[in-house]
């Protein structure tokens, strides 16, 4: 057993314990760790944006490479700040319109293609048991979400099969969620026992 002598490991370990102390009850150590996380995350994000966007994508091309085309997106970006001034706030609509227009134009063709591949996935070449379950599952679930007809008689029976499939999907998702949450705890316990306390290798 070799307890870590690295100060950063100690800080990380104490912050982990401070966060887990909330499970007992709310306390100042938890609050401190929570605020620290929020502050550091924002600070880290700002520094990354500054170096990787402002410096690399704006300052360097403009000042060192004399690429004046950068001025156009720069102006569009700066116009977003007009929202802070009531009389000029309408100018921010221009970059927003550009983002919405370009984003939609870029995504629609690819998204349709993506969706068609998913639809194609429900049309198997061979009809074995697994594929039959997929076909029945897709159709009955879609019927369950078809609200233009009252769920009575035949439609009601089909939609009841659909909800069974939905419940099975929820069950699978819930099982996976438990697995995920336990994995996060395992990750921290592993860090505490191994990196901090040196109990396990």
């Amino acid at each position: 057993m070799a307890i870590s002598t690295n100060i950063w490991i100690w800080i990380a370990a104490l912050l982990t314990l401070a966060i887990y102390s909330f499970l007992y009850k709310d306390n100042p150590f938890y609050k401190f760790a929570e605020y620290l996380l929020v502050g550091i995350s924002i600070g880290y994000g700002v520094s990354i944006y500054w170096h990787n966007t402002i410096i690399t994508k704006v300052y360097n091309p403009l000042v060192h490479e004399k690429d004046f085309l950068v001025i156009i997106p720069l102006i569009l970006g700066l116009l977003m700040f007009s929202r802070f001034f009531k009389s000029y706030s309408h100018l921010s609509r221009m970059p927003i319109a550009f983002i919405v227009g370009a984003g939609t134009g870029l995504s629609i063709p690819s998204s349709f293609e993506f969706l068609f591949k998913q639809v194609q996935g429900t049309m198997p070449a061979s009809l074995d048991v697994g594929n039959l379950i997929i076909i029945v599952g897709v159709i009955t679930t879609l019927v369950y979400f078809f609200f233009s007809m009252e769920h009575k008689g035949f439609v009601g029976k089909v939609s009841r099969i659909g909800i069974t499939f939905i419940m099975i999907a929820f069950g699978a998702a819930f099982g996976y969620t438990i697995m995920a949450r336990i994995s996060l705890l395992i990750g921290r316990i592993q860090f505490l026992l191994s990196d901090w306390l040196g109990i396990i290798k």
Partner: protein, 288 residues
């Protein structure tokens, strides 16, 4: 009835303590629960093993932050080692600002460990592996990578010009990437599938958190992804495949947690059964 009342009024902090013990004890006294390799994990392993040529390029997307690190970090590490064993170049890319830290951590740890156990075939930052600089706007970035990867990023996360790095030799677009595995617990996976796979036919695998795994099975069935690593279990399976073939002396982060995972799952099953039994007994008693 006494027992039913006791269960219904039990302070949940006792359950937290029980879960903590159930997770900690298997670490100290490991049992070594058997593990079966699932086809989606085998598929990713086989593709890297058989279909990427020597000096080929593996693109790894590290689109996660410390909140999902426990599940996704071991996967990314295992795949990096696999690429090292096969002399495949590794490019990390991130669409998350925090992903830069994750990518750099994997590079530091894997390089340090690899070079300590394989001094005769060392790996080098910039020559065998690197992390591309973070650029905001993930959809636009993924699309632009299809046209020109060096022009999209200009430099790596360490401030080196991509044109000067030997790891980038011959890499211009997705056509020069042999395979990509995207690690994320968010919807960024879909953007990669829509744009990189859908538009540019980039062969892809997915590494995701257990929470998202059920959602992404659809893309396996439709053939949009050829494999899936789901949660810590997926990472552990990959580590097993790797250690079965190679003499790996490092710590298998995911595999060592599998006993704790199994123990916690058994506890949860018992708690769910117990909770349901007491619920129905109480309901029955109240109905009388």
């Amino acid at each position: 009835m006494k027992f039913v009342n006791f269960i219904n009024k039990l302070d949940k902090r006792w359950i937290y303590l029980l879960i903590a013990l159930v997770v900690i004890i298997p670490f100290v006294f490991p049992v070594g629960c058997p593990m079966k390799i699932t086809p989606p994990v085998q598929s990713i392993y086989n593709y890297i093993e058989d279909s990427i040529p020597e000096n080929g390029v593996l693109l790894l997307g590290v689109d996660y932050d410390p909140s999902t690190m426990a599940e996704l970090h071991p996967m990314a590490k295992a795949l990096t080692y696999h690429a090292f064993y096969n002399n495949v170049r590794v490019l990390f890319v991130t669409m998350f600002p925090q992903g830069s830290g994750m990518g750099q951590d994997i590079i530091n740890r894997t390089l340090e460990h690899w070079n300590s156990i394989n001094p005769d075939m060392p790996k080098e930052l910039g020559k065998d592996i690197t992390l591309l600089a973070y650029v905001p706007g993930f959809s636009a970035v993924i699309l632009k990578m299809g046209e020109n990867i060096p022009a999209t990023f200009n430099e790596d996360a360490y401030g080196n010009k991509l044109d000067n790095l030997s790891v980038m030799e011959g890499i211009k677009t997705y056509d020069d990437i042999d395979y990509m595995v995207e690690f994320s617990g968010s919807s960024v996976v879909l953007s990669w599938l829509i744009y990189a796979n859908g538009r540019y036919n980039l062969k892809m695998g997915i590494g995701t958190t257990a929470v998202s795994a059920a959602e992404y099975y659809n893309y396996l069935q439709s053939g949009q992804a050829n494999g899936l690593l789901g949660g810590l279990k997926g990472a552990a399976e990959y580590e097993k495949l790797l250690t079965d073939k190679h003499d790996f002396s490092g710590r298998n982060d995911a595999s060592v947690g599998m006993d704790a995972q199994s123990a916690a799952h058994i506890l949860f099953i018992l708690l769910i059964i117990l909770g349901n039994i007491t619920f129905f007994i109480k309901k029955h008693q109240e109905g009388k």
